[in-house]
C-alpha cells in the first residue's frame, strides 16, 4: 500500500471555452443566459430587448402591448397530456400572459422534415388549432419550410404572439420588494417528467400527464383581484428554480422558499428520486409563479384556487432583504440550502 501524498494530487484545467454550441445552451439556465448576453444582445443592440422578460412590453401608437416568440423542438411530438401543437400555442400564450397580456394573435412557422408522414402533420395542426381555440387566440399568419431528411426531428414549430397589456398592469421583476409573497399555481415538475417518461421509455408505475395549458384565464382572474401583482413567471425550461433565480437576480432581493410547501406530486418525486433529478429544476408548461404584495396575497390565492388551472395554488415562500440575488430553501428537516441557477441541462445520475 503506497503512502498517499495529497500534495501530488491534481485535477484538470477548467473548461472555460465553448467553441461550439452544446445542448446546455438551450436549457434555460446559465449557459442560455450567457449565449444571449455574449452573442445575441451585443449583436442586436439594446432598446426593448434589454427587458429580457418572457415577453417584451411595447408601446406602439400609444397602445401598450406584449410581444413574444418561442420555438418548439420537443421529442416525441406527442406525449401524455399533449403534443408539440399544444405547446406551440400555450408556450407563447403563457409568455404573453406573464406580462399581463391576453394573447390576441399568433404567427405560426412550421419547419418540416422531408419524409414526415402527412398524417402526423395533420394531427399536429389539428392539436395546434384546438389549443388556439381553447386559449381564445387567433392564428393570423404562418409559414412553412421543409428541410432534407435527417436534418430535423420531424416537425419544428415557431410561434410569435401579440396581446394588449391592460391599463394599470406593470409586471416586472424590478417591482419585487422584501415582504412579497411567492406562490405557485399548482404542482410542479409534471410536464418535464411526462415528456421524459415517453422520450426515454421510462416507466414510473403510473402514467404522468403533461400539465400543458394556456394560463391567460388564470392571469385574468388574478388581475381582477388587483392589477398590482409585481411579477409573474412561466417556469418552463430550468423549472421553478430558474424562474426564482432570474427574479431574485433582476430585483436584487433574496427569495426564501419552504421545501415542504412546494407541491410536488408523488409520481414526480419518485421519478426524480430514481433519476437523481431535483423537481425544482424540472420543466412545467401549465404553471405560473407569482410575486404578490403581502396585502393582496390571500385574495389573489383565493382567486387562483377558484380557477380550474389554479386549484392547487399555494404559497411557497417570500421575498427577503437578505442574500440579494440568491434563492434559499428551508429544508423539511429545518436546515437551509441554496437553490442555484441551473447551469445547463439536469443530468440523470449514475447511481
Amino acid at each position: 500500500m503506497p503512502v498517499l501524498d495529497p500534495a501530488a494530487w491534481t485535477c484538470p484545467a477548467p473548461l472555460r471555452d465553448q467553441p461550439r454550441v452544446v445542448m446546455g445552451h438551450g436549457g434555460g439556465g446559465a449557459l442560455s443566459a450567457e449565449l444571449v448576453q455574449h452573442i445575441f444582445a451585443p449583436a442586436f443592440g439594446g432598446g426593448v430587448l434589454a427587458q429580457m422578460g418572457d415577453a417584451a412590453a411595447l408601446s406602439l401608437g400609444g397602445v401598450r402591448m406584449a410581444f413574444s416568440t418561442d420555438s418548439f423542438v420537443v421529442r416525441p411530438l406527442f406525449f401524455p397530456g399533449g403534443s408539440i401543437g399544444d405547446l406551440a400555442v400555450n408556450g407563447t400564450v403563457n409568455d404573453l400572459a406573464m406580462s399581463g397580456a391576453r394573447a390576441a394573435y399568433l404567427s405560426c412557422g412550421f419547419i418540416l422534415e422531408e419524409g414526415v408522414e402527412m398524417e402526423t402533420v395533420a394531427r399536429v395542426a389539428e392539436a395546434l388549432g384546438a389549443a388556439a381555440r381553447t386559449a381564445g387566440v387567433e392564428i393570423a399568419t404562418g409559414d412553412t419550410k421543409v428541410v432534407e431528411s435527417g436534418h430535423g426531428d420531424g416537425i419544428y414549430i415557431n410561434t410569435a404572439g401579440i396581446g394588449l397589456i391592460p391599463a394599470g398592469v406593470d409586471l416586472r421583476p424590478q417591482r419585487v420588494v422584501p415582504g412579497d409573497v411567492v406562490m405557485v399555481s399548482g404542482a410542479i415538475g409534471v410536464h418535464g417528467v411526462a415528456v421524459m417518461s415517453v422520450r426515454e421509455g421510462l416507466e414510473f408505475g403510473v402514467e404522468i400527464e403533461s400539465d400543458c395549458a394556456a394560463l391567460g384565464g388564470l392571469v385574468d382572474a388574478m388581475l381582477a383581484v388587483t392589477p398590482d401583482l409585481h411579477v409573474l413567471r412561466d417556469p418552463t425550461r430550468g423549472g421553478l428554480a430558474a424562474s426564482l433565480n432570474e427574479i431574485a437576480a433582476a430585483s436584487g432581493t433574496g427569495v426564501v422558499i419552504r421545501e415542504r410547501d412546494v407541491p410536488v406530486p408523488p409520481a414526480v418525486a419518485n421519478a426524480c428520486a430514481v433519476l437523481g433529478l431535483d423537481p425544482l429544476y424540472v420543466a412545467n408548461e401549465g404553471k405560473l409563479v407569482a410575486f404578490v404584495p403581502r396585502a393582496h396575497a390571500d385574495a389573489v390565492l383565493d382567486a387562483m384556487r377558484a380557477h380550474p388551472l389554479g386549484a392547487g395554488a399555494t404559497v411557497v415562500g417570500e421575498v427577503v432583504a437578505d442574500h440579494p440575488g440568491m434563492v434559499v430553501a428551508r429544508t423539511g428537516l429545518g436546515g437551509t440550502r441554496v437553490v442555484d441557477m441551473p447551469i445547463g441541462e439536469q443530468l440523470p445520475r449514475i447511481c
Binding site: 498517499l4 473548461l15 429545518g334 443530468l347
Partner: protein, 374 residues
C-alpha cells in the same frame, strides 16, 4: 414507491437528532463514503443540525469524481471516432477531460447518447449492427453487476459490435487507503448501503477490527443518514468498533449472490487509479481475459493514452476528507459547476458541487458570487 416520505419525517428526524445530541460527549470525525450520502447531507442541511462535535467528512464515493482523467480522455477519443455510438449515464457527459467533455464531442458531431441502463446500450448495438457501440462502464460495486450482465449478454447473444470502457472501483480498498494515510482523521465510517446491497458486509469486519473504527452500513434518505450517524457515534462513545447494518431493508449480510457471481465471471480485480488520489492497489475491476473481445480499450487501441493533470485543483484532498470544499482557494471563484477545475465540482454527487449548490450562504462573499443571469 414507499420509503421516501417515511424516511424524511421531520418528527422522527428530530428524535434521532436529540438522541445524537444527548449521546455525544466529545468531538468525532465520521466519513460518509458515498457521494449520494454527501448529497443528501448537504441538500437537507443535516450537517447544520448535528452537534458541533460531530464532523462529517465527505469521502471518495462519487463514481464520477474518481474516474481518472486518463479514462475520460479515452472515452473522448473513442466517442470522436466515426461509426461509434458512445453510450453513457448522463452525469459523465460534463466531466472535463483534457480540454473538452463528451457534450463537446457530441457538439462536434460525435454520436454520444445518454442511456438509463447499460442494457439500453446493448439494445442500441442490436439495432445498429453496422456501428460500434460502446458503453462507459464506471462506478462502484453498485453499477458493476448490471454492466457485467451487459457484457455477459453480448457474449451469449453473439452481439460483437458492443464493448465496454471499464473503470470500476471498489470501496474496501479505498477505506484501507484512507486509514493508512498519515493525515487521516476519520474515526468512523458510514458505509455505502447500495454497495453493501450487492457485496454484503463480509469485507468490513476485518477493516473495522484492524483500524479500530466502527463501520455502519447506511442508506441514503435523511433518516437513514441520521440513524447511521447515531449508531456510529454511539459505538465511538462506548469505545466499540464493530460492523453494524443500519440499512437492513436493502442490505443482507451476504449481499446479492447472483450479482456477485456475475462480477466473478466477467471481471477481475486490478489496481486502479482514482482521480485526484492516485493508484490504490486492488481497488478496481477490469474485464477478465475471456471477455477481452468486449473491452473497448483493447478494441480501439487506446491503452496508450496517458494524461498528466496540471496541479490546479485540490479535489484529491477533498475526496480524502483532508479539506472541506470551501477551504480550497479556488472554490466558488475559479472553480464553479460552470467552470469546474475538477470532477468534484462537476458531478451532482461531488462534495464541491454539493457545497456550491447548497451551502454558499455560510461561506465567504467571494464564494457566494452568484452565477450571472439575465
Amino acid at each position: 414507491m414507499k420509503y421516501i416520505d417515511e424516511f424524511q419525517d421531520p418528527d422522527l428526524a428530530r428524535r434521532l437528532l436529540d438522541d445524537i445530541h444527548s449521546t455525544v460527549t466529545r468531538p468525532w470525525a465520521l466519513m460518509e463514503v458515498c457521494g449520494g450520502q454527501t448529497h443528501t447531507i448537504i441538500r437537507h442541511g443535516i450537517d447544520q443540525l448535528l452537534p458541533d462535535q460531530v464532523e462529517l467528512i465527505h469521502g471518495p464515493g462519487c463514481p464520477v469524481c474518481v474516474t481518472p482523467l486518463e479514462v475520460i480522455d479515452k472515452a473522448l477519443e473513442i466517442a470522436s471516432r466515426p461509426g461509434v455510438i458512445f453510450c453513457s449515464f448522463g452525469d459523465m457527459l460534463r466531466v472535463p477531460g483534457t480540454g473538452r467533455d463528451l457534450f463537446q464531442v457530441r457538439g462536434a458531431g460525435g454520436d454520444v447518447r445518454v442511456v438509463y441502463s447499460p442494457l439500453d446500450a446493448l439494445r442500441i448495438a442490436q439495432q445498429n449492427p453496422d456501428r460500434e457501440v460502446v458503453f462507459f462502464g464506471i462506478g462502484f460495486e453498485t453499477t458493476a453487476p448490471p454492466n457485467a450482465m451487459t457484457v455477459y449478454q453480448a457474449r451469449r447473444l453473439g452481439i460483437r459490435n458492443f464493448s465496454l470502457l471499464v473503470s470500476h472501483v471498489r470501496v474496501p480498498p479505498a477505506i484501507e487507503a484512507i486509514m493508512q494515510s498519515p493525515s487521516c482523521r476519520v474515526q468512523g465510517f458510514l458505509a455505502a448501503g447500495h454497495v453493501c446491497s450487492v457485496m454484503g458486509v463480509e469485507e468490513y469486519p476485518e477493516l473495522a477490527e484492524r483500524h479500530r473504527v466502527p463501520i455502519v452500513v447506511t442508506g441514503f434518505e435523511p433518516l437513514d443518514i441520521l440513524e447511521g450517524v447515531r449508531r456510529t457515534v454511539a459505538q465511538l462513545e462506548r469505545g466499540e468498533h464493530t460492523v453494524d447494518n443500519a440499512y437492513p431493508r436493502a442490505v443482507r449480510p451476504e449481499g446479492n449472490a447472483a450479482a456477485r457471481a456475475m462480477l466473478e465471471d466477467v471481471f477481475e480485480v486490478t489496481d486502479r487509479a482514482w482521480r485526484g488520489i492516485g493508484v490504490i492497489p486492488d481497488s478496481g475491476w477490469r474485464l477478465s481475459a475471456k471477455y477481452r473481445d468486449h473491452d473497448a480499450e483493447h478494441r480501439f487501441s487506446v491503452e496508450g493514452i496517458q494524461t498528466r493533470e496540471p496541479a490546479e485543483c485540490r479535489s484529491g484532498e477533498v475526496l480524502q476528507g483532508l479539506l472541506k470544499p470551501h477551504e480550497c482557494e479556488a472554490f466558488g471563484t475559479l472553480c464553479t459547476p460552470r467552470t469546474p477545475l475538477g470532477a468534484t465540482m462537476v458531478s451532482s454527487e461531488g462534495a464541491c458541487a454539493a457545497y456550491y449548490l447548497y451551502r454558499r450562504l455560510d461561506l465567504t462573499p467571494a464564494a457566494r458570487e452568484a452565477t450571472p443571469v439575465v
